[in-house]
Subunit: 452 residues, 2 copies
């Protein structure tokens, strides 16, 4: 038997322990089946990798294997602490790791626990492959940011915007039937442009459409034979970050507006996009390239329905896990603080990077960067500095015809201008990668420019 | 100050509380950022929906909204407790809900917690879009089950097997270039067959290949002009569950072997598949159709590389979340118990369903089912009864030319025979849906057959 005085004391100790966070108390929620998954995820997240790498749940960690750090480029060792100064700067692909620190700061609100029986069927309860809740989140986000009109528009999801490009080309092309089309649609873009418009269109090699090169070849020639023209317009443009407009005009011209970078991180927003067909991707909004989640905003119901058919027969829609994750991430943006935090973070990071690079390049006569000026942004409600995703660097010396090779020799790996259907005097440098990658890039340029 | 006697007592109370599970103790693992996600997932999972529906994390549950039950067909109400006996049986689509109870029983080991910064980049650490750890799991699984040879083979991932079909057609077709192919590959299948082979091939309408109908049209005619033939072979077959072989032969014939149903759930396994190109999907293995995850096992390196190019330009690979989930699910199969549990469960469920349906139909002269016999299975190491995924039902009366309409009038919704390029005297009935759907199907048939 416990005497009253002992009992009182013990209870008061327990209460103070409860509130001290040392214990989770009986009246609070207690996990049951979720504990293992939560523990596994936190154990992996707790591995520091010296701040120069990450351990992942699908690295070698399942069932008691030792978790393995995956190191940033130029770092190595079991804890990623060894830096190799001879290693080349990775400024090639557009992996948007610059947003990783934002999600680490929002660890609690951005985590999702997926049960073993989560959404096993093909469709949502309305019979579609598209989460209506996620559509609503996307519409709300565009409304808050002011970068796209969505009222009365249709929305479809794709495997990144990549899958949506060909879905849109298919939907805009005439004569989608079994016979050879006598007059396939002509698919075009203006250099410098994202290479996938060409490579993807050529890969599918359809009887209904054909890649026909640069818009300049067709500028005053779109009334021919009633041929349909499908123009890819990227704004801001990849690689050079400029706000662009369609070049072709006329009743037979359709445009696919790739707005992957039309977010406050990368560009001033002069007005909401209000086109027949616009694509976005979570990759350049939240930084989750690996999720492979994009969406298209479509005016015409017929085009929307053709895209749905395409997406069903290509992949039967998009992974439920990807849709669930996108929902959670957008929810963090929409529900936390003033709804501007990710955009403030994205913008200030990209502006600072651009400004550091520009300062170094400005000391050089050998290299130049694309010209971008401060401009009024309707989201921030003020004039803001440039903050492009990529530098479109030019080698100015007559003899430096292959700028990619010049940079490579100096330990800087970018993408050749010819990848973007432009001159090899240009190189695209990705500024949206990790801070480590950017710091190495800056160091290499500092050395290179000092040699001038 | 606490006297020694108080302290000792308090510590002993704490120790007993610790081990009583009322408290999670300081020395044990304590969740930090994962708590919200775990709590949210468990709260949703705890909603019973009367056993006739489920609540999901991406239903209306985020941020304090009331979680909503999504009811099985014919059930309604906020807790799915209202049954409508006039409602038609859903035996149409192949949503594999029959495996849901298995995952509910393995809630702890099958849950995954995805952090906000999980795999944001495009590639894994080896630069590919394909998790090598998941490839290893898949190979191990095939080895244990004995349903496919994987030694020295290449593996690629697709958005379900659906995306892999066209990737394989592309890879097998000659002349993948920009000009019109004079001699496109002929894509064929043997009726009754899964409709997507035709509809997908026609949708892409490529210059490199063309859908050319039934194999019977080309049986002794594959040497013509060096034309490439691409034959889809489904074994066990969808819709009729029969183990099939390729019909066409010759040096110009390539086969795409769709082995979606080649698991102990659905068929005896006479020997491991050992073909040039075989596709599988997690949908019919674990029941996760919504994950959109499939894989192809490929002998030839050139074919593998063409498929990789296709998958990159189509969707830049498969969602990292889908790959992580697939890894976790396969891990449960591989690491728990005798590694036979899911197959025992799948087989006994499907065998019992087939046996119940067969018993009812056997009383009728109006309807018949496909003939399937017990056969030796190398996995179970014994003769086992049939357990097909679908019934391929025939209306036997001369006047019942449209079997789909006959069944529909009796409150049974299947798929028309003509969808499978066969006679409308046949209907495909899905037996892999929820227990509720199957029970309603049995009830409707009991009534229908009694009317004979």
């Amino acid at each position: 038997m416990m005497s009253p005085i002992y009992l009182t004391l013990t209870i008061s100790i327990l209460i103070s322990l409860c509130s001290s966070n040392l214990f989770v108390c009986g009246t609070e929620w207690k996990p049951t089946w979720s504990t293992g998954a939560a523990e596994e995820a936190e154990a992996v997240a707790a591995i520091p990798c010296s701040g120069h790498g990450r351990a992942y749940l699908d690295g070698l960690v399942l069932n008691g294997h030792e978790p393995v750090c995956e190191c940033n480029p130029c770092y190595s060792g079991s804890d990623c602490s060894n830096f190799s100064s001879h290693c080349a700067a990775n400024a090639g692909d557009g992996d948007p790791y610059f947003l990783e620190p934002f999600w680490m700061r929002h660890a609690a609100s951005s985590a999702v626990l997926v049960s073993g029986w989560h959404r096993m069927g093909y469709t949502y309860s309305d019979g579609s492959y598209i989460s209506q809740l996620l559509v609503d989140h996307i519409k709300k986000l565009h409304e808050i940011v002011g970068n796209a009109v969505t009222d009365g528009r249709y929305i479809v999801f794709g495997g990144g915007s990549t899958q949506l490009f060909n879905a849109a080309v298919y939907a805009f092309s005439p004569n989608n039937n079994h016979s050879s089309s006598l007059n396939p649609a002509k698919v075009v873009a203006t250099a410098p442009h994202f290479p996938v418009y060409r490579t993807q269109t050529e890969l599918f090699n359809s009887r209904d459409y054909r890649y026909e090169g640069d818009t300049s070849l067709w500028k005053n020639n779109t009334d021919n034979n009633g041929t349909t023209f499908i123009e890819f317009v990227t704004s801001p443009n990849n690689p050079d970050g400029k706000l662009t407009k369609a070049v072709l005009e006329g009743p037979n011209v359709k445009t696919i507006n790739d707005r992957a970078y039309y977010w406050p991180h990368f560009t001033p927003l002069p007005s909401p996009a209000d086109d027949d067909l616009t694509t976005f991707t979570i990759s350049k909004l939240t930084g989750h390239a690996g999720t492979r989640f994009g969406w298209a905003i479509i005016k015409d119901k017929g085009v929307y329905e053709k895209m749905l058919t395409y997406l069903e027969l290509n992949t039967v829609g998009i992974s439920r896990e990807a849709q669930l994750r996108a929902l959670k991430l957008l929810n963090v943006i929409l529900e936390e603080g003033d709804r501007k935090e990710i955009f403030q973070f994205g913008y200030s990071t990209m502006r600072d990077r651009w400004s550091r690079l520009k300062q170094i390049i400005s000391k050089s006569k050998r290299f130049s960067l694309q010209k971008l000026s401060p401009q009024y942004c309707t989201f921030f409600k003020r004039v803001r500095d440039p903050s492009p995703a990529y530098a479109w660097l030019k080698c100015e010396r007559e003899e430096d015809k292959n700028c990619y090779e010049i940079l490579k020799a100096a330990g800087i790996n970018g993408h050749e201008g010819s990848m973007y259907s432009d001159d090899d005097r240009y190189v695209r440098l990705s500024l949206i990668r990790s801070q480590d990658d950017f710091d190495i890039l800056i160091n290499k340029f500092t050395v290179l420019v000092a040699k001038d």
